[in-house]
């Protein structure tokens, strides 16, 4: 239940309760007032009748004064027969009436005052109270909803911005959110300053990664060139192999940090996918079967598509088992191997740096998938990793065509 609805419901409930209580109290008060009034009048009339009767033995005309009126309510009659005096509401010939009666010389003298008029007045009052209560409940609820709406829309703005930040756009800010200086504004300011701090932390982290990789390049260059001068032999091979691995790792790190920093804008072009993939696959130098079912023209950055496919193929070769199959179906490219498939965590959380499930899948540094994912995001390619029902890792790329506007996150 949204905050808006909760606030509106509480306000509606409370104002209904208040209206109901006020209504009941007003109703009771007015009933009491009318009854007292009628009773007083009836008693006064009865007194006059009794006085007249005592003096003249005749009944005064008026007030429906009567002796032994059969219409007198039985309880009142019994009271009067016992020689006492009383009054009560009871049915009269024209609706409810206030009766007053007293015993005099064995007879029951009674007067009657019509009460129907009072009942109508009470009913009118009740209706007026109901209408105004209903109106005020409505107004209160509306006002409450408006107030709640303002709070909740500001909270929503804040939440939307926080989600944008969570998606990686650390430039997003909530801003002042109107002129109010309340808890919501405080929350917004706190979120903004948090994202600013995060941003600078992340920026320095990224700079650090890039700087480390760059700094590594100089000694690596010396090491690589020097290792090529070593006399041929198994030890030299081992050294060169490790130097090359170090170089590869450094380049991957640099690529990741460039992707993180969104340093480069994609160069999009409209290209037929089949021939492009043929070139990319040939350049991987891996034994891969390329099958083009249907070709399509796509809008993409060929260099980035190359990085995506090359990394997926390298990952398949390193962690999977042959045969490797790259398939083009329209604007969709799939890369499949026949190994143990992607590990659980990769499927669940997406590619993470340096996490490969290396124990089960051989070794590797786990940057390849991160790089593929990063490039895919930059050029609006939808990259999904899955395991094929027939076994093996199965990556699927859907590439935008000339008609689609790629949602390039790096094109800022």
């Amino acid at each position: 239940m949204t905050l808006r609805r909760q606030i509106a419901a509480v306000i509606a409930l409370v104002s209904c309760l208040v209206a109901l209580t006020v209504g009941i109290l007003v109703h009771q008060a007015s009933v009491r007032q009318h009854t007292e009034q009628a009773r007083k009048s009836a008693t006064a009339a009865l007194d006059t009748v009794l006085t007249g009767y005592d003096a003249t033995g005749e009944l005064v005309t008026g007030w429906h004064a009567a002796a032994d009126d059969p219409a007198v309510p039985p309880e009142l009659r019994r009271l009067a027969e016992r020689g006492r005096q009383g009054s009560m509401l009871g049915p009269g010939p024209r609706g409810t009436a206030m009766w007053a009666a007293a015993g005099a010389n064995g007879r029951v003298l009674s007067v009657r005052m019509d009460y129907a008029e009072d009942e109508r007045a009470i009913a009118d009052l009740d209706r007026a109270v109901q209408v105004s209560a209903a109106l005020s409940v409505l107004v209160t609820v509306l006002a409450g909803v408006l107030a709640a709406d303002r709070i909740s829309s500001r909270l929503r703005t804040a939440a939307r911005t926080a989600r944008t930040i969570a998606r990686g756009d650390l430039d997003a800010r909530i801003g002042p959110l109107g002129r109010a200086r309340d808890e919501v504004a405080e929350l917004a300011a706190a979120v903004d300053s948090m994202s600013a701090v995060l941003r600078s932390k992340l920026a320095s982290e990224q700079r650090f990664t890039a700087d480390v990789a760059h700094e590594l390049r100089t000694p690596l260059t010396g090491l690589l060139t020097a290792s090529e001068l070593l006399p041929p032999g198994r030890p030299t091979e081992l050294v060169r192999n490790r130097v090359r691995a170090l170089c590869g790792l450094t380049e991957d790190l640099l690529e990741v940090s460039r992707l993180d920093a969104r340093a480069e804008t994609p160069e999009l072009a409209d290209l037929p996918l089949g021939p492009l993939l043929a070139r990319i696959v040939a350049a991987t130098g891996t034994e891969v079967e390329l099958r083009v079912d249907t070709d399509a023209v796509v809008t993409t950055d060929p260099r980035r598509l190359d990085r995506i496919v090359a990394n997926l193929v390298a990952n398949a070769q390193r962690h999977g088992r042959p045969p490797l199959l790259v398939r083009v179906e329209g604007a969709t490219v799939t890369v499949r191997d026949h190994g143990p498939g992607y590990p659980e965590e990769v499927l669940r959380d997406g590619p993470q740096r340096f996490r490969t499930g290396a124990r089960e899948r051989g070794h590797g540094h786990g940057l390849g998938l991160t790089i593929a994912q990063g490039h895919a995001e930059a050029v609006g390619i939808d990259l999904r990793l899955a395991n094929h029902p027939g076994g093996g890792a199965y990556a699927r790329l859907v590439i935008p065509g000339p008609g689609d506007r790629p949602t390039a996150t790096a094109a800022r």
């Binding site: 100089t218 690596l220 260059t221 001068l229 072009a269 350049a283």
Partner: protein, 240 residues
């Protein structure tokens, strides 16, 4: 193995990191190139003036006078092939080196074989490489010819370029690029095609090399002559 081949192109290597300098020198000498070295930009300039080499191999970050500055200074007096080496691949580093007049660049760390391949490609364009004449002549088409587009004249025999009768000095790479354009005026040249034909790059190389060279060429022969075809490449305007 380490004796330089007589008549082989001489290389001046300017690099401040001692290990890279020494190892690269040794490695290049194994491939038969005589190599001289300098440890900073000013020493590089001195050595260049004392005995001009056939090719300059230049680190971007150097003490005293950095690679970009050195490259610019040398370009003022010579059109010799220049190859930059850079540990940074940020656009600004690569582009500033190319804008200063470098013909190509290699990213550190590089394998010696890659470096040698680049050196040979650049040398081939200047006519110093072993296979210089053959492909160049083939690309240039029939024997003596002067290609004329408006007031731009390209003498493919003398390898001279004139704009409105005035000779324009072009580096070998710029000339090679212009020849590609003048061979087919008005025809779209994709960046990839130019990369393959002028720089011998295979698939997947950095097309900024082309962009910067086209800009340098425009600055020398007139900005309006080469049109940009967005997303694809460039073409030479047939007439202005």
């Amino acid at each position: 193995m380490t004796t330089p081949v007589p008549g082989a192109p001489r290389i001046l290597l300017v690099e401040d990191d001692e290990v890279i300098r020494e190892a690269t020198q040794l490695a290049l000498e194994r491939y038969g190139f005589p190599v001289e070295t300098a440890g900073d930009g000013l020493e590089g300039l001195e050595r260049f003036r004392a005995a001009p080499p056939d090719l300059l191999l230049l680190d971007v970050m150097l003490p005293l006078l950095d690679g970009v500055g050195l490259c610019r200074r040398i370009r003022e007096e010579s059109q010799l092939p220049i190859l930059m080496m850079s540990a940074r691949t940020e656009p600004i580093d690569v582009i500033s080196g190319l804008e200063a007049g470098a013909d190509d660049y290699v990213v550190k760390p590089f394998e010696t074989a890659v470096l040698v391949a680049r050196i040979r490609t650049v040398l081939r364009r200047t006519g110093l490489g072993p296979t210089a004449a053959a492909p160049a002549a083939a690309a240039l088409g029939p024997a003596h010819s002067v290609r004329v587009i408006d007031d731009l004249e390209v003498d493919t025999d003398a390898m001279e370029v004139r704009v409105a009768g005035r000779p324009v000095p072009l580096t070998p790479t710029e000339l090679r690029l212009l020849l590609e354009f003048t061979a087919a005026p008005g025809v779209l040249m994709e960046r990839q095609t130019l990369l393959e034909r002028v720089w011998d790059y295979s698939w997947g190389a950095d097309s900024r090399v082309v962009d910067v060279h086209v800009q340098r060429l425009r600055a020398k022969i007139g900005a309006g002559r080469i049109e940009t075809v967005r997303g694809f490449g460039y073409k030479l305007r047939r007439t202005s």
